[in-house]
């Protein structure tokens, strides 16, 4: 079977079988941390700007898609301006079934919902841009993520004065 078709079949099976995901997670080579970094949230932290970060492989239709041919994944990221209409977004990620997210991008990147929370005053201000990665990053690509691209996104968010970030997986 060719790789994209095989990936999509596996993605569909995993999406519909939470038990299988658990079995996978128990034996998978996942980093195990005993401590966690900590930034205190101020009582007015939701005054913002509030940003979204996703690993669901979302990008603008006009941006280069994530590289699905490299078995170690793609550690690069895409900027998603807040002004982007939902219809201008697409997903490149063969390792989960994104049929529902294709229909409604808010399933993985709740950008329209966050704008609504700004309009109703639940948050003060939405960030001017959000960031997107693809998950399933391994080996040397994982080293690039940890050493380069994740800190680069953090630095860009710092420049934007982000005060709260919500992360969503694929």
């Amino acid at each position: 079977m060719i790789k994209p078709a095989k990936d999509k079949l596996l993605a569909s099976i995993f999406t519909n079988s939470p038990g299988l995901v658990n079995l996978w997670a128990k034996q998978a080579d996942i980093v195990t941390n005993t401590s966690t970094p900590w930034a205190s949230a101020a009582s007015n932290t939701l005054q913002g700007p509030v940003a979204l970060v996703t690993t669901a492989g979302v990008h603008l239709i006009g941006q280069p898609p994530f590289d699905m041919d490299d078995p170690e994944g793609d550690a690069s990221f895409r900027e998603i301006p807040s002004s982007t209409p939902a219809g201008a977004l697409t997903i490149t990620h063969n390792y989960y079934d994104h049929g529902d997210a294709d229909a409604d991008i808010n399933v993985v990147l709740p950008i329209e919902r966050l704008k609504e929370l700004e309009a109703e005053g639940f948050i003060g201000r939405i960030a001017r841009r959000h960031f997107s990665f693809m998950g399933h990053i391994l080996g040397s690509r994982l080293e690039r993520l940890v050493g380069e691209t994740a800190p680069a996104v953090a630095a860009e968010m710092k420049k934007d004065g982000i005060r709260a970030a919500l992360l969503t997986p694929g």
């Binding site: 993605a11 995993f14 999406t15 939470p18 995901v21 658990n22 997670a25 128990k26 996942i30 980093v31 195990t32 941390n33 005993t34 401590s35 966690t36 970094p37 900590w38 930034a39 205190s40 949230a41 009582s43 932290t45 970060v53 669901a56 989960y96 079934d97 994104h98 049929g99 529902d100 229909a103 808010n106 399933v107 993985v108 709740p110 919902r113 966050l114 609504e116 929370l117 639940f122 948050i123 990665f133 998950g135 993520l145 940890v146 994740a150 800190p151 996104v153 953090a154 630095a155 968010m157 710092k158 982000i162 005060r163 709260a164 970030a165 919500l166 992360l167 969503t168 997986p169 694929g170």
Partner: protein, 83 residues
């Protein structure tokens, strides 16, 4: 995703992630996470279920602001089961 979250938190920006799997999240140990009972590919639930998406987003942002213990993983309310 947890590794990206940790990098952002290390830049002194408070973060919270939506988790779809307890085992993975307990191992990665992000600063704050909320566990929803949704399948892969659906961190915010079903498509076009605007009411639930808004409600989960509000609950998540409130937890982001209010959690005081590093490494806290909270179970989302039962209403976020994938019905």
């Amino acid at each position: 995703m947890g590794l990206i979250q940790r990098a952002i938190e290390e830049a002194d920006i408070p973060t919270l992630s939506i988790s779809l799997n307890r085992t993975v999240t307990e191992r990665v140990k992000p600063p704050r996470a909320v566990l929803v009972g949704y399948p892969l590919g659906h961190p915010m639930g079903r498509p076009f279920n605007k009411k639930t998406q808004i409600s989960l987003l509000k609950e998540s942002l409130t937890l982001l602001r209010d959690i005081r213990v590093p490494g806290t993983l909270v179970d989302a309310s039962d209403r976020y089961r994938f019905k």
